[in-house]
């Protein structure tokens, strides 16, 4: 064989080999088409595969679980509250043949899911009250902030279904519609649920008034407790002062009684003592009764002046 021909031949053989093989990565599945016609079952096994060169075409389709994260949409709940709902879903292509025929690429698939899920989410949200979409656990008892102890926030509103049930509802409703495109919807979850601007203002107003109520309660509690303490002050003062008065009177009265008894015992022990007491006490009274400005008129008959008048001759009786 001619040495010069060897190289081109080798290159041609390599190219042919290259054209008749294709690889399938772990993340993809492949549909082989021949002049636009699907040939055989989708190839899901990863690795190196053969194909008829130049005639067959490899169409790669995602095998992994995919995510749909649709745009947030404004919806109305059953209790007429407008909320922005942002959900996400997980899906995968289970029927690649159907998918390939009806959708061809990921973008059109996502558009299809957006249409289906937006509609079903809107329906589900409209069937339920807001609290059903927010809450999940039906019987949860909230922990109470002991420092607040205001009765305002002690309970959570009751629910009948809950978020998980509504998510399941949406999933169940959307699955058949998407199965027609070879898509299996694995789950749907609410990612964000926010009040729209108009509702938020009302919520803020309610939260504000709720807090003001708590604040007012604290203030009046403070005033009440202060009044109670001041009342206690008045009570204690009156009690202390009156008790002191009572004790003083008791002690003094007892002493007075004792003194009286002592005097009575001394002065009244015999008739002579009684007489002597009255005599000395009368004399003592004179000392205090007669002051400087007093004019005293004495007659010579008086005991003091008897001698004065009669002279020394008459002996005093």
């Amino acid at each position: 064989m001619n040495r010069a021909l060897l190289l081109p031949l080798l290159i041609a053989a390599a190219m042919l080999l290259f054209a008749s093989t294709y690889t399938v990565p772990e993340t993809e599945q492949v549909i082989i088409t021949q002049f636009g016609q699907q040939i055989g079952a989708p190839v899901t096994k990863a690795g190196l595969h053969w194909q008829i060169p130049f005639i067959q075409k490899v169409n790669r389709i995602e095998k992994r679980i995919l995510e749909w994260d649709g745009p947030a949409a404004e919806m109305s709940t059953e209790d007429k509250l407008f909320i922005d709902v942002d959900a996400f879903a997980r899906w995968r292509i289970t029927n690649a043949k159907l998918y390939f025929v009806r959708l061809t690429d990921l973008r059109s698939a996502k558009d299809r899911i957006t249409n289906t899920l937006n509609g079903e989410t809107r329906n589900a949200v409209a069937r339920h009250q807001l609290v059903e979409i927010i809450r999940t656990q039906r019987d949860r008892q909230p922990v109470v902030d002991a420092s607040l102890d205001a009765s305002v926030n002690k309970t959570l509103p009751e629910i009948r279904f809950g978020r998980a049930a509504i998510e399941a509802e949406i999933l169940k409703a959307a699955q058949p519609a998407l199965a027609e495109y070879g898509i299996e919807l694995l789950d749907v979850r609410f990612k964000r649920i926010n009040y729209n601007a108009g509702v938020a203002a009302k919520i803020y107003a309610r939260m504000t008034s709720e807090r003001q109520q708590i604040a007012a309660r604290f203030r009046s509690e403070g005033e009440g407790e202060a009044a109670e303490i001041l009342g206690k002050r008045e009570r204690d003062m009156a009690q202390i002062e009156s008790e002191a008065y009572r004790k003083v009177q008791e002690v003094q009265g007892k002493a007075d009684a004792e003194a009286t008894a002592i005097y009575a015992a001394a002065y009244g022990q015999t008739p002579e003592a009684r007489e002597f007491y009255s005599f000395t006490r009368t004399l003592e009274t004179y000392r205090t009764v007669f002051a400087r400005e007093t004019t005293l008129v004495l007659t010579t008959d008086s005991a003091l002046l008897r001698l004065f008048k009669s002279g020394p001759a008459a002996a005093p009786k």
């Binding site: 990565p25 990863a46 990612k191 407790e225 008790e243 004399l283």
Partner: protein, 321 residues
């Protein structure tokens, strides 16, 4: 300009014989470069051949087939990765770390239909490189969405006060448990290690009223302190005053009794002496008293009992001296 003839390079005559070794050397070099991959210590490599998974390769210099037959994808399994929710860390290195819309992300409706601004982080690691690479499209993006959904689910079952104060730790553990379960179910190949709440606030429009509650709490305490102050200002003093009065009364009582006893003693003593000679003593006492009393008086008029008629002339109110 001088006309300089460009230097003439001579093509060596033995080029043909040199070309083969040159090509061989170049091939060897290229082979060496494409046949080895260095797997860093914090990573594992996922080795695929023709797209098919072969094995997980450990850190070190690893051989692989060239020409795109073998491929090693590096997965940082040892690195602790973080996702921020509701806020952004300027120094973030993880491309999924920062949120697209922090404002919308931190607004969460609570179980009592109030609103709270919640910021949190999720820390995770890639645990299963094979699953991480092949099972789910963009696992870290899915983790972001799952984290948000779970956090909202948990906050959605709590009151605003639990979210802001008492329930923080519980929210973290509850979110972590549920998120771990969900990540396992989704087969993301990740393991969530921690959920940590960062700043949690009431919404901007109501922050003032939450501040007012704090202020009212302070005011309540202050009112009580003030009242206690008023109480303590007077009551202890009144107690002391009461004790003083009682003591004074006891003093009075002692004095009173002692004086009575003294008086009685004195009286008894004089009485004893008096009884020995009552007439003389009476006389003496009377006269002594008169002696003391009379000199103090300013006017003394002595009348004979026969001269009673001078009375009308006496000017009793007239001052003497």
């Amino acid at each position: 300009m001088k006309n300089v003839t460009p230097p003439q390079y001579q093509i060596p005559a033995n080029l043909g014989s040199l070309a083969v070794p040159a090509v061989v050397v170049a091939l060897a070099l290229w082979f060496a470069l494409t046949c080895f991959t260095s797997v860093p210590t914090d990573s594992n490599g996922v080795l695929t051949r023709f797209g098919k998974f072969v094995e997980i390769v450990k850190p070190g210099l690893r051989f692989k087939l060239p020409l795109g037959i073998d491929n090693i994808d590096l997965v940082p399994v040892e690195r602790q990765l973080t996702l921020d929710f509701g806020f952004t860390t300027p120094s973030a290195t993880n491309q999924n770390q920062a949120p697209d819309d922090p404002e919308a992300e931190r607004n969460i409706v609570t179980g009592d239909l109030n609103m709270a601004l919640v910021e949190w982080i999720v820390q995770y690691r890639i645990e299963d490189p094979k699953q991480f690479k092949f099972h789910v499209f963009e696992p870290e993006g899915t983790l972001r969405d799952a984290s948000e959904a779970v956090m909202r689910e948990v906050v959605g079952d709590r009151t605003i006060d639990e979210v802001l104060t008492v329930g923080r730790a519980e929210i973290e553990t509850e979110t972590l448990t549920r998120l771990q379960a969900l990540v396992l179910r989704y087969g993301l190949g990740l393991t969530v290690m921690q959920v940590q709440l960062q700043k949690v606030h009431p919404p901007k429009g109501v922050q003032a009223s939450f501040g007012e509650v704090n202020q009212a709490q302070q005011e309540k305490q202050q009112a009580i302190f003030l009242a206690n102050g008023e109480y303590n200002k007077v009551v202890p003093r009144a107690k002391g005053e009461a004790l003083r009065k009682v003591s004074a009364a006891e003093g009075y009582a002692a004095k009173r009794v002692n004086e009575a006893q003294g008086d009685a003693g004195r009286f008894n003593a004089t009485l004893t002496e008096y009884l020995k000679s009552p007439e003389v003593t009476r006389q003496r006492l009377y006269l002594e008293t008169m002696q003391e009393v009379l000199p103090q008086l300013s006017r003394k008029i002595v009348l004979d009992d026969k001269a009673g008629q001078i009375f009308p002339l006496l000017q009793l109110d007239q001052k003497t001296k």
